[in-house]
C-alpha cells in the first residue's frame, strides 16, 4: 500500500475511508515518529504544575526525556533530561523542588536554570573546556500559550500561536472564563493508562459524538436515574438522553486549519457556569453568580459561550482539550507500538472555586472519565475491539464518511476526517491537505447554525 492511498478522500463522491494498515503497520508507525511527532508542537505541561522557583516535573514527550522546571530566576524552562557528559538522566524523580541537579554517574552538577556549575576534579579537563557549552540542552523550540507549554523538535516550526491558529478562540474562551475565579490550576493526581490499540483510534474516539448513545448506555441510564430521583426526568426520554449525553440538538462538529478539530455542544451542569437540576441550591446560586460575572465582563454573546458551550478540541496531533459538563481536562495520547497507546490525563479546576461546585465538578468528571469511570472503560473496550478486528486483514477499509453530505452534527465524522486529512498530508510530506468537506464548518459557521 502506497502512502498516498492510505486515505481515500473523495468528498464529491460521498466517500471517505482509511486503509486499516494506517492503524497496524510498523512502517507507518515508524514514519509517524518522524513526520508527525518530530514536526508539530507537542504539549509538555501547564505553568500551574510548577508554581514556585525550583519546582520541576519530569515528562516524556515523543519519547524524549524532559524536565519541565521553574528556575530560581522564576523562568519556566524545558530541558532535555540527559547529562551533557555521558548521557545519564540528571533528574530521576517525577516531581519535586531542587536548586541543583547532580548527575549520579560522575557527579556533574547543574543548577535549576540548566547551567553546568560543577565537575569533580575540574583540573582533569583540557584548557578551553567551556562549561557554558555543556549546559543542559533545551529542545529546538519551546513556546507557551495561556500557560500551556509546548515543545517542537522542528527548528523551523511556526510560532505556537500561529500553529494553533483559530483554535485559540476556543482555548481563550475556557481560559478567560476562569479569570473571575483565579485562573485554572492542574490538580495533583494524573490518570495514566494504556490501551492495546493504535493511538489514532483514541484521537477519533475523543472527538466522536456518534458512539455516545451506543457505547455509553450505562452512563446515560445512571444519569437519567439521577435526574428522575430529583424529578427532573420528565422532559421526555430524548431530551433526557441528550442532556445527560452532553450533546444538545445544537451540537456541531468543526474543522480548523492544521488538523485541529472537534465538536461544540451544550449541557447543564458546567461548573463555569451553567446550573444543574442535580445540584444543591447553594451550588446553583454560585454558578449563576459566576455566569452573571462572565456576561457582565465579556458581554452577552461571549459570556454565554463561555458558560454554556462545551468545547471538545483536538490540538493536532495528540492533545485533547476538553471543557465540558464533566470538567476541564487535558488528555495526551502517545503511540507506543502500532497496536499500543498510552494516555496521560490531567484535570484542571478554577483556583477559587466554591467548595460545593468543586465537589460536583469532580463527581461529574470521575463518573464518566478516567480508567475507573462509568464511560472510559467501555471506550477502551471499543478501541481494543477495533484493533482485534483489524486482524481480518482481508477487510481493508474503515469508513469515515458520516455527514459528508450535510452541515456537520457532533455525531458526524467531519472532525475525524479533518484529523486524517492533516495526518495524511504530513505523512506524505505535504504542508496541508488538498481537500476538505464540502459543507465543513469553521467556528464561525458552527456559531451561525
Amino acid at each position: 500500500m502506497q502512502l498516498a492511498d492510505l486515505v481515500q478522500d473523495r468528498p464529491e463522491a460521498g466517500r471517505f475511508r482509511v486503509h486499516r494498515s494506517a492503524l497496524t503497520s510498523p512502517e507507518v508507525f515508524a514514519l509517524e515518529q518522524r513526520r508527525i511527532f518530530e514536526r508539530g508542537w507537542l504539549y509538555v505541561g501547564h505553568e500551574s504544575e510548577i508554581p514556585r522557583p525550583g519546582d520541576y516535573r519530569r515528562r516524556t514527550v515523543a519519547g524524549r526525556p524532559l524536565v519541565f522546571l521553574r528556575g530560581s530566576d522564576s523562568q519556566v524552562r524545558v530541558l532535555f533530561n540527559t547529562c551533557t557528559h555521558r548521557g545519564a538522566l540528571v533528574c530521576r524523580r517525577d516531581e519535586g523542588n531542587a536548586e541543583v541537579f547532580q548527575c549520579f554517574y560522575h557527579a556533574w552538577t547543574f543548577n535549576n536554570r540548566g547551567e553546568l556549575i560543577g565537575t569533580p576534579d575540574p583540573d582533569g579537563y583540557p584548557p578551553g573546556f567551556d562549561r557554558a557549552e555543556r549546559a543542559l540542552q533545551p529542545p529546538p523550540r519551546v513556546d507557551a500559550y495561556r500557560g500551556l507549554y509546548f515543545i517542537s523538535l522542528d527548528r523551523a516550526a511556526p510560532p505556537l500561536a500561529d500553529y494553533l491558529g483559530p483554535a485559540r478562540e476556543l482555548i481563550d474562551l475556557t481560559f478567560d472564563a476562569a479569570e473571575v475565579l483565579g485562573g485554572w490550576t492542574i490538580l495533583a493526581g494524573t490518570a495514566k493508562y494504556a490501551i492495546r490499540a493504535n493511538w489514532k483510534l483514541l484521537i477519533e474516539n475523543s472527538i466522536d459524538g456518534y458512539h455516545f448513545a451506543s457505547v455509553h448506555q450505562t452512563y446515560i441510564s445512571y444519569m437519567a436515574s439521577q435526574r428522575a430521583s430529583v424529578g427532573a426526568g420528565t422532559r421526555g426520554a430524548q431530551a433526557t438522553l441528550s442532556a445527560t449525553a452532553g450533546l444538545s440538538a445544537a451540537a456541531r462538529g468543526f474543522a480548523l486549519p492544521g488538523g485541529h478539530a472537534g465538536f461544540l455542544s451544550g449541557a447543564p451542569g458546567r461548573g463555569i457556569a451553567s446550573p444543574s437540576p442535580l445540584w444543591s441550591d447553594t451550588a446553583n446560586r454560585e454558578v449563576e453568580r459566576v455566569r452573571a460575572l462572565l456576561l457582565a465582563r465579556y458581554g452577552e454573546e461571549r459570556g454565554r459561550r463561555m458558560a454554556e458551550q462545551s468545547r471538545h478540541l483536538l490540538i493536532f496531533p495528540n492533545l485533547l482539550f476538553q471543557d465540558s459538563h464533566t470538567g476541564f481536562r487535558l488528555r495526551q495520547i502517545w503511540p507506543v507500538a502500532p497496536d499500543q497507546l498510552e494516555v496521560l490525563q490531567w484535570e484542571l479546576v478554577p483556583r477559587d472555586e466554591h467548595e460545593e461546585v468543586r465537589a460536583y465538578r469532580l463527581e461529574n468528571s470521575l463518573l464518566f472519565l478516567g480508567p475507573g469511570g462509568f464511560g472510559t472503560p467501555d471506550d477502551v473496550e471499543a478501541l481494543e475491539s477495533c484493533q482485534l478486528g483489524f486482524r481480518a486483514t482481508e477487510v481493508e477499509w474503515s469508513d469515515v464518511s458520516r455527514g459528508l453530505h450535510r452541515d456537520p452534527l457532533a455525531e458526524d465524522e467531519l472532525q475525524m476526517r479533518a484529523f486524517w486529512r492533516q495526518w495524511h498530508a504530513l505523512m506524505q510530506g505535504l504542508p496541508a491537505p488538498a481537500t476538505h468537506d464540502p459543507r465543513g464548518a469553521t467556528l464561525a459557521e458552527s456559531r451561525r447554525q
Binding site: G189, Y193, A194, A359
Partner: protein, 173 residues
C-alpha cells in the same frame, strides 16, 4: 517469652487474635463474593455513609476532596457501578472477566467504639483475553454489625506506576 508469660498474656492475645480472625474471615468472604460476581450481596456489605476510593497511581496518598483520584464512590455511585456491571452494556465487562483476589497480610490497625480499622495487601488478577494484575494495599474502616461487619470506608491503593497492562479499572478492586 516464657511459657508462663504466654499463658498470662493469653486472654488479651486471644481477643486480638479473635478480632483479626474475624476481620480476615470478613475480607476473604468479601473477596469471594466479588470473584463470584455476587455484586448485590457485596453491595449489601456497605453502610449508608460508605465510601470506596481508588487514588491515582502517581499520588497514592490522594484525597478525593482535593486531588484527582480514579474512583470516589458514595453508596449511590457504588450502587450505580454495580447496576452497570450487571448490565450487558458495560462492554468492558460483558461478558464478565474472570478474577481472583488474593487478600493477605491482614492487620487490625485500630479500634474505636464499634469501628475497626484494618489494612491488607492484595493481588487482584483479571483475566480476559490477557491477564492483568492489580497489586496494592487495602485500607478498611469496618463497623461491627451483629457477629460480622459492615464496610464504612474501603480504599484500594495501587502499587502500580501506571495502568499499563490494565487499560482501565473495570472491575471492583
Amino acid at each position: 517469652m516464657s511459657a508462663g508469660d504466654a499463658l498470662r498474656a493469653a486472654p488479651a492475645l486471644s481477643a486480638a487474635l479473635a478480632l483479626r480472625l474475624a476481620v480476615e474471615d470478613f475480607l476473604y468472604a468479601e473477596a469471594a463474593l466479588l470473584d463470584d460476581w455476587r455484586l448485590d450481596d457485596w453491595l449489601a456489605l456497605f453502610t449508608d455513609d460508605a465510601r470506596y476510593v481508588v487514588p491515582t497511581t502517581d499520588l497514592p496518598e490522594g484525597d478525593p476532596r482535593r486531588d484527582l483520584v480514579l474512583i470516589d464512590d458514595n453508596l449511590t455511585r457504588l450502587r450505580g457501578r454495580v447496576e452497570r456491571l450487571k448490565s450487558r452494556h458495560a462492554h468492558r465487562e460483558y461478558p464478565w472477566s474472570r478474577t481472583r483476589r488474593l487478600v493477605t497480610n491482614v492487620r487490625v490497625t485500630g479500634t474505636q467504639g464499634d469501628e475497626v480499622t484494618a489494612a491488607a495487601a492484595f493481588a487482584v488478577y483479571r483475566i480476559r483475553l490477557e491477564m492483568a494484575l492489580f497489586v496494592g494495599r487495602y485500607d478498611y474502616c469496618l463497623v461491627r454489625a451483629g457477629d460480622s461487619f459492615k464496610i464504612r470506608y474501603r480504599r484500594a491503593t495501587l502499587d502500580l506506576e501506571t495502568l499499563r497492562d490494565h487499560g482501565s479499572i473495570s472491575i471492583i478492586l
